[in-house]
Amino acid sequence: MKIIVCIKQVPAKDAPLSITGNWIKEADIGFEMNEPDSYALEEALRLNEKHGGEVIVLSMGPERVKQTIKEALAKGAHRAIHIADDNFSQLDPLGSAQTLAAAIQEEKADLILTGLQSDDHGFGQTGVLLAALLDLPHATLIMQIEIQNGTSSAASAPRSMRLKRELEAGWFQHIECPLPAVLSIQSGINKVRYATLKGIMAAKKKEITTITRESLGVSLQPTQKIEKIYVPTKTKKTEFLTGTPKEVATKLVEKLKFEARVI
């Protein structure tokens, strides 16, 4: 089974964000693998351990993205495709998906996995858009994947998946989905592995193919534009309590007891 996992590199969770125009200053902050995507990668690696084949990592962005690609290769992905793009942060969801779809098209994968959403833009549309652009069935918020082989042992036997989807308010649903397909993985589906030293060494020999949107022949028509980014204005007046931990604790208990009257 050939699986492509789309992975985004995003600013590190504790990175101090300083806004410039409609993006952030990238110069002094660290970047990391988008956490929801790490669940998709893990799921791809587990499916590969069970069913064989190949796991290909696909990532778009400037040169720094290679560091995240290498992490994915160290965890066990077999090879990677890097769509080099310095203006990646300016793409709208459709533009990103069109570019990724063009790269995926050439690979003819059985399964394409994405995370739930990115921790930076948070559009949460990539997986569904890929399905639309590649004309494949899809499902989102996946909590379990079971590959069902056809009754015949022939290689061409129809294959499908039985999936567990998360709905709202504690509800779930099983669905059947044919292959090939695009799935957006819900965070928490599995326990993500760490890269081993052996994996890190092995990754050095793995292939990273670099391509560009131009080489893929994709031209974009933006459908939306981020005009500006800013820190939200407060809607509620917060009373900040200061002092030593002990002082703060005493003040807080006082407030909760006599002002808010909730304890």
Binding site: D92, P93, T238, A249, V253
Partner: protein, 329 residues
């Protein structure tokens, strides 16, 4: 301008975020001299269309088909693109539900359009509609505008508008117009099976008056003990944001947020929780919110009544002690 609101129902029951989106549409319409149409999709949902007709809408579109009885992204996209092509709205609005996440981007893409998803508000800047959405897990917000020709697609986050501000129809009832769609079995590639809930939970957080909730700031499972001791001193229940339950540090039934429980306790004590929108929608109804976080810019402080910028590992034991002391005071 013509606005179409795609409402959501499952098994003939409303997803109430639909009414918030309808309220959003009414506000945009009042602001931008537009009309609002509401759409109901499914099978045997005529009674829901009648219910919507009593609201202040120009018309209700009723889209019914045997193959729309149960939701599938393929079925909804095939049907709704036909309706949109026929009705020609300028703007199509959705409640930002899990279901909408699953099909709306595809529907927009099928018509070569984009979707501004998960909006928390909008502004009319001199005739230009600006949609506001969060980025960086709520640490920043962004103003987004549509590019290119209509129709434009947008979805509104739960809680962004108030359903009780929804206006009734001024003269009784809006017309309910049935829209026929063509749909074939082979166009629907996924097969939905049964809906189910996991094993019954042992705790009902929705009934807990006092909640101590932990987030990523707790760092390691062995540190949860500190929060549990604090919860015990307070006489409250322990809860968590999604990442903690994803890690398996606390059971899923203790998760607060859009994919977990929605609670409205007397007191919500948020420890090391940054306040991403997915968490906030599950707890912003709390009467008193206390946030303790080392990052003074954490979005959780925007909704907190009391805030402490500091190290939860220092404050948790101090607070436990102060609470124990207060019991005997």
């Amino acid at each position: 301008m013509k606005i179409l609101v795609v409402t959501e129902q499952r098994q003939g029951k409303w997803n109430n975020t639909s009414f918030e989106t309808l309220a959003a549409a009414q506000q945009i319409a009042a602001d931008a001299s537009s009309t609002v149409s509401a759409l109901v999709i499914g099978k045997g949902v005529g009674h829901l269309a009648e219910e919507l007709a009593a609201r202040n809408v120009a018309e209700v579109l009723l889209v019914e088909h045997d193959l729309l009885e149960v939701y599938t992204p393929d079925g909804y996209c095939v049907a709704l693109s036909q309706v949109i092509n026929a009705a020609q709205p300028d703007m199509v609005l959705f409640p930002h539900t899990y279901q909408v996440r699953d099909f709306a981007p595809k529907l927009a893409a099928a018509l070569a359009k984009g979707l501004i998803g998960d909006c928390i508000g909008y502004r009319n800047d001199g005739g230009k509609l600006v949609f506001v959405r969060q980025m960086f897990q709520g640490k920043t917000v962004s103003d987004v505008t549509f590019q290119g020709a209509a129709p434009w697609f947008a979805s509104f986050q739960s809680g962004a508008f108030r359903a009780d501000s929804l206006a009734a129809h001024p003269s009784g009832k809006a017309p309910v117009n049935k829209v026929a769609v063509e749909l074939k079995t082979e166009q629907i590639r996924t097969k939905p099976l049964e809906l189910f809930k996991e094993a019954k939970s042992s705790v009902d957080l929705t009934q807990a008056p006092l909640i101590v909730a932990i987030g990523r700031g707790i760092k390691a499972p062995e540190n949860i003990q500190l929060a549990q001791t604090l919860a015990k001193a307070l006489g409250g229940e322990i809860a968590a944001s999604r990442p903690i339950c994803d890690e398996g540090w606390l059971p899923m039934e203790r998760q607060i947020g859009s994919s977990g429980q929605t609670v409205a306790p007397k007191l919500y004590l948020a420890l090391g929780i940054s306040g991403a929108i997915q968490h906030v929608v599950g707890m912003k109804g709390a009467r008193t919110i206390v946030a303790i976080n080392k990052d003074q810019n954490a979005p959780i402080f925007e909704i907190a009544d009391y805030g402490v910028v500091g190290d939860i590992f220092e404050i948790m034991p101090a607070l436990t002690e102060a609470l124990e002391k207060a019991k005997f005071a």
